[in-house]
Point group: C2
Chain length 107, copies 2
DNA sequence: CAGGATCCGGGGGGATACTG
DNA sequence: CAGTATCCCCCCGGATCCTG
């Protein structure tokens, strides 16, 4: 799940709220429709979120995090905070390294 | 870095110890030589580990986590613990879901 | 509106061979 | 031993179109 970048972004959007398919599609910028569907299936299968279908027309499907999903979000948030905290530092490191060692990593 | 599965595995191997290139190559099972090199370059560039070259023959290069690298490992470890804790539960969920909804996710 | 089905290209990454 | 250089395959995932 860590390797799949979309999973964690979808889960992040469902923090403390329920969203419909279209809302998720708009919320997670950049994801394609097929990928969103696939990601949601995987997450539902693993029990991280629930999928509720309303027999209305037009159709309406809502996604909500389960308890399990919430605990994952909490753990992932810690990692996200690490990234936020050190984002600048890492950027500086890279720039300095690129200056010091020209084109050892860059094309 | 999250999306790159090798990075976190390499970092994990360097917890509290220094390893040489070959040792890392053996420790991280499945990684190819070019990928290990690339991963190490990226991590060095970002300041997560240091690369020390000894002018001996045969050559000898050692990799050690920096302070920054250690903090990332700590954060990632929390996520790893989540995975370890819920591994079984998730497996059960998937199996149950596969039984209940035949081939909605499987081929 | 929610999502199958299909097509297709780009690039991540492995295998291999070579070098200082 | 610690890489670099090259080739090349596979499949991830985006675009697009269609349906209940």
């Amino acid at each position: 799940m860590i390797g799949d970048k979309w999973s964690i972004l979808v889960i992040g959007q469902l923090r403390d709220r329920t969203l419909r398919f279209g809302e998720l599609h708009r919320a997670v910028t950049g994801i394609s429709q097929p990928m969103l569907t696939l990601t949601l299936r995987q997450l539902e299968r693993s029990g991280l979120l629930t999928r509720t279908v309303y027999a209305s027309v037009p159709p309406r499907v809502e996604y909500t995090l389960t308890e399990l999903g919430s605990t994952l979000l909490d753990a992932a948030t810690a990692l996200g905070e690490w990234a936020a905290t050190h984002r600048k530092e890492i950027g500086d490191n890279r720039r300095r390294h690129d200056d010091t060692h020209p084109s050892r990593t860059r094309p």
